[in-house]
Assembly symmetry: C2
Homo-oligomer: 267 residues x 2
């Protein structure tokens, strides 16, 4: 990666982490200056000199830079190691506070009527993976998991699959030979197979370039199907649970036919 690119990247990320633009630019500036005055920083980062002071003060308050009160003042950034550690701590504290606050109010409001057909949509790679892991951890009899893209095979996922107790039957599918080999190499106690999932993309219908993400069926009563969007590359999923759930019923059908047929066990 190019230096200027990297700097922009860093500024961007710092802003996502809650810093203002000037603050971010100043911090990045100090990262390559080791130590500097307001003027030097202003020249390097193109932050208006008179605004550098405010930005630095904010950064100092957050424990990210140090100030030497000489004349002219000198600024320098905390070592990268310390900075990331500080940010991390800050964040952990926040997440904990959130967790505490929310658990004290998890008082559920009226659990009323019919648990009808519910199909939920979710998006985002991280959230979907977490949900998938959650589901697998709760499996009591059977887990069927088909992976459509190697980018989805993370350490967490593999660890989770390997942690499934012995009493639970695990069927692990892949859409390509390579991927299946990869899976078999990293997983024990599971039956792996290759599955052409043509039926998923819609047999003969319009058939756009939506790539298959993953397909997870747990105890034949909860299903999660995800796709990789062609344009953005983001992952989108739908998810249903309950034995009577329409989506789950359809999924059971399809699995029985398309998956298990030429292959292995269970009706």
């Amino acid at each position: 990666m190019n230096d200027t690119q990297a700097m922009e990247e860093a500024v961007e990320v710092l802003q996502q982490l809650g810093l203002k633009e000037y603050e971010a630019r100043c911090f990045v500036g100090l990262s390559r200056l080791r130590a500097g005055t307001a003027k030097q920083l202003a020249d390097l980062t193109e932050v208006p000199r008179t605004r550098v002071y405010d930005a630095i003060r904010m950064l100092e308050a957050q424990g990210l830079v140090e100030i030497q009160h000489s004349s002219p003042q000198q600024f320098r950034s905390v070592p990268l190691q310390e900075a990331t550690e500080t940010l991390r701590d800050q964040y952990e504290a926040r997440v904990d506070r959130l967790h505490d606050a929310l658990t004290t109010i998890e008082v559920v409001e009226k659990e009323d009527d019919a648990p009808i057909q519910q199909v939920w949509a979710m998006s985002g790679y991280v959230a979907i993976e977490n949900r998938a892991i959650d589901l697998m951890e709760e499996a009591r009899e059977e887990v069927v998991l088909v992976i459509g893209d190697e980018s989805l095979v993370t350490d967490e996922l593999l660890a989770c699959v390997n942690d499934i107790p012995a009493g639970v039957e695990v069927l692990l599918g892949a859409v390509s030979n390579d991927l299946e080999r990869e899976l078999r190499r990293n997983v024990s106690g599971a039956t792996t197979f290759v599955s052409g999932l043509e039926w998923l993309v819609g047999e003969g219908v319009e058939h756009r370039e939506v790539a298959i993400g993953r397909l997870l069926l747990v105890d034949r009563s909860a299903i999660l199907v995800s796709s990789i969007m062609p344009d953005t590359g983001s992952e989108q999923a739908i998810f249903g649970e309950g034995f009577g759930n329409g989506l789950v019923v359809i999924a059971r059908r399809l699995m029985a036919q398309g998956l298990v047929r030429g292959k292995d066990p269970a009706s």
Copy 2:
């Protein structure tokens, strides 16, 4: 904690974590509703109904809520466990990206002239603790640490002190008997003592209510002194290094007199 308090707290923290107010309120609302429509959410959270949709979309994109595309749409939040996990992952990823970006540009700009007296100021409890730990980890001969307030005795700090290799002499001071006992109970391989640090607050000068935070001297060549501000309760520190550093020189003097005198070892 009261429910409404907890909700406000949660909203606040969520905003610190990067969510907009409406998004935060909606998420908190869904946390106690298990599932709900836009109208229900609007009534509960006082977010304008027409704005609930935008907020939910953002939340969905971040993997924090699920949408059921029925009519009316139903929304529900991801289980708290998953939500915090997702947020944590997101954050880790950002910090990593930051780390990568900054290391690629850590090309130091001109390391020029005289390494004169440098005294740096920093503030914020987390940052100061991190710096203190850093310093102690680099100790090769001697660590002198005086604690002025029990709130500063964290697990990390204790762990760090206990991890100091045997070859390094450790002098651990406290400003009260109780605190010294506490320290001795949790630390091994260190000489503990009680030190009235009157001299730190300025003998007879104005003497405001600045509480002593910590005092750290490593290898007699780096020093960190912190105070607890009377009004805000925040921690502020100054820090100097280099054997010739003025601050360090003074510190050595003071230590030799005020600390070691009536007590223990080393000149």
